[in-house]
Symmetry: D3
Subunit: 69 residues, 6 copies
């Protein structure tokens, strides 16, 4: 019954339902393989964060993207 | 001063303001009753998560809902 | 399949296993009653935080407790 | 490489990109100054929560705002 | 620069440093493979939770383990 | 009533109560200054994470520290 929370930025190209399914499946398989935990009750929550709301190194990701990073 | 975070999926029927008030009141009362903590500074945050972004047992809730689960 | 995280301070009197069971049961029942969600896959995680690591109003709870609050 | 999550309510006046940048910069500087940690890999995520979804003292912030608090 | 938080219970057999490294590497690779994000600034935090503090279906995991589940 | 969660690694030199007080005070002041929010009900929680449990760039911080990083 592991719980996993993934936070990623909302970039110009939205994350597709298929990619989300692959992330959820992949993390669930990984926990089963490495720890033998789950998979039936493994919960995964994906949070998509605006680039203005996500900062690294003291700058918002939005500012870094404007600079081409 | 407990802090509580509740994550639930956004289903077809939206969660009403009254239901959110009942959840917040209920959790705050529970913490007061069981632990004698709060209630004045008990903070509760409810996150409503898209079904594509919430996974259980390796599948997104959206996929499970399409299958009638 | 709601997910709930409860954060409370570690006070002088430890929280007993029975109190934790009552919190988990209480929150699970509340979500079933108010939203009709769960209960089988409702996950609840309780974090107990040192008083030095928990702040409110700009002060650690440890400082407030020394002042009798 | 500290990680910081800030949750605030969405009030009538939206939080501007400049304010978000100041929060991210300010928290990153604070961690560098107090702990000597980061700043290059310090991650800050700001969550803006609807007033119906944020409760304090057993009430949603929306209810408190209607009462002028 | 994704952020991932994994919460698992502390079981009788402790999780080894090698298993933690495999989880961190595995999640980082998964995010690179599926979303092309990271890996240099991907942050992963693993929380190990006492069985009394982790509940599913209204019961603590400790109670379920005593019942052989 | 903002809520802030700070996650940092447990390094060889423990973080002192004074440093924790400065972090809590600093973040509370920052939110007051930038957003005019709080400070009385601003909650700050500091999580100190073992180096084996904290990963960046696919490696645990423990592995990076052994390499002198």
């Amino acid at each position: 019954m592991p719980y996993v929370n993934i936070k990623v930025t909302k970039e110009q190209e939205p994350i597709t339902p298929e990619q989300k399914q692959r992330l959820i499946q992949g993390v669930t398989d990984l926990l089963k393989e490495v720890l033998g935990r789950g998979p039936k009750t493994t919960v995964v929550v994906i949070d998509e964060i605006d680039m203005d709301n996500y900062g690294i190194g003291g700058e918002t990701v939005a500012v870094r993207r404007q600079r081409g990073e």
